[in-house]
């Protein structure tokens, strides 16, 4: 996984199912999917720069947030597997689901209320 500083030891686990890696990759795929979905809105950038800007900002904040917390999340998963106990990350789930709902709502607003060609 990502290594930022040499002083921090890399966490290890012995889970044959590679659960922390799979979960971390699932988060990465979600980040990519969010960026791709947002890229669709760029079609309206010439006409509605402010609107597209808001939308891209929402998606990029979430994508960046996921990226920044990836190492923390991986370490949490590794220590969870090691200790046979992990706390469910309700805040992250609510945050990502909320961002997707906001993206959908902004898309709906664009389709229904902006004069698109």
């Amino acid at each position: 996984m990502m290594r930022r500083g040499r002083s921090v030891p890399e966490p290890e686990h012995h889970d044959a199912g590679l659960q922390p890696e799979r979960t971390s990759l699932a988060w990465s795929r979600t980040t990519l999917a969010m960026i791709v979905a947002t890229a669709m809105f760029l079609r309206w950038f010439p006409e509605y720069g402010w609107f597209t800007g808001t939308l891209v900002a929402v998606a990029l904040c979430t994508a960046l947030g996921i990226y920044i917390t990836q190492q923390l999340r991986y370490r949490r998963a590794v220590s969870g597997i090691a200790n046979e106990r992990i706390h469910a990350d309700a805040a992250a789930a609510a945050w990502v689901a909320g961002s997707v709902v906001v993206l959908g709502a902004l898309g709906l607003f664009a389709v229904l209320f902006l004069a698109l060609d």
């Binding site: 469910a88 993206l103 959908g104």
Partner: protein
């Protein structure tokens, strides 16, 4: 399972403690699997957002404005329902696992199936009308 460097357990956040009261922490593998399933639903929702926007933004030369807007609206509403529903599904599964009760049936699965069917039917009607 043994490990070479176990870390101390972090405390649960207030938000998680409020939403997931009682019970005991399930097997961490189940919690992580639940998280991955939730993320798969989120990606489905994002694909629907992208699809809805793509229909509205890139098919102006193919579809009539009415059918285009209808398909885009259905896809975006479906995306919002799946996005919102995926969080509650994740929460309900986590609660069930904490209390060792049977897992709930996925309500968002039939919503997605029906929504996808509606969009496909709309497209079929449009194609048939265009042929005649």
């Amino acid at each position: 399972m043994p490990t070479s460097s176990p870390s101390p357990r972090p405390e649960r956040g207030k938000f998680a403690a409020k939403l997931l009261r009682g019970g005991t922490e399930p097997d961490p593998r189940f919690t992580l699997a639940n998280e991955r399933t939730f993320l798969a639903w989120i990606r489905t929702s994002l694909a629907l957002v992208a699809g809805g926007i793509a229909v509205e933004a890139f098919t102006t030369d193919i579809f009539d404005p009415a059918i285009r807007t209808t398909i885009a609206v259905v896809l975006l509403v479906l995306a919002m329902a799946i996005g919102c529903g995926s969080f509650f599904r994740w929460l309900n599964i986590e609660r069930s696992m904490r209390h060792k009760t049977p897992l709930p049936l996925p309500l968002i699965a039939p919503i997605l199936a029906i929504g996808g069917g509606v969009v496909a039917a709309l497209l079929l009607v449009f194609v048939l009308l265009r042929l005649t």
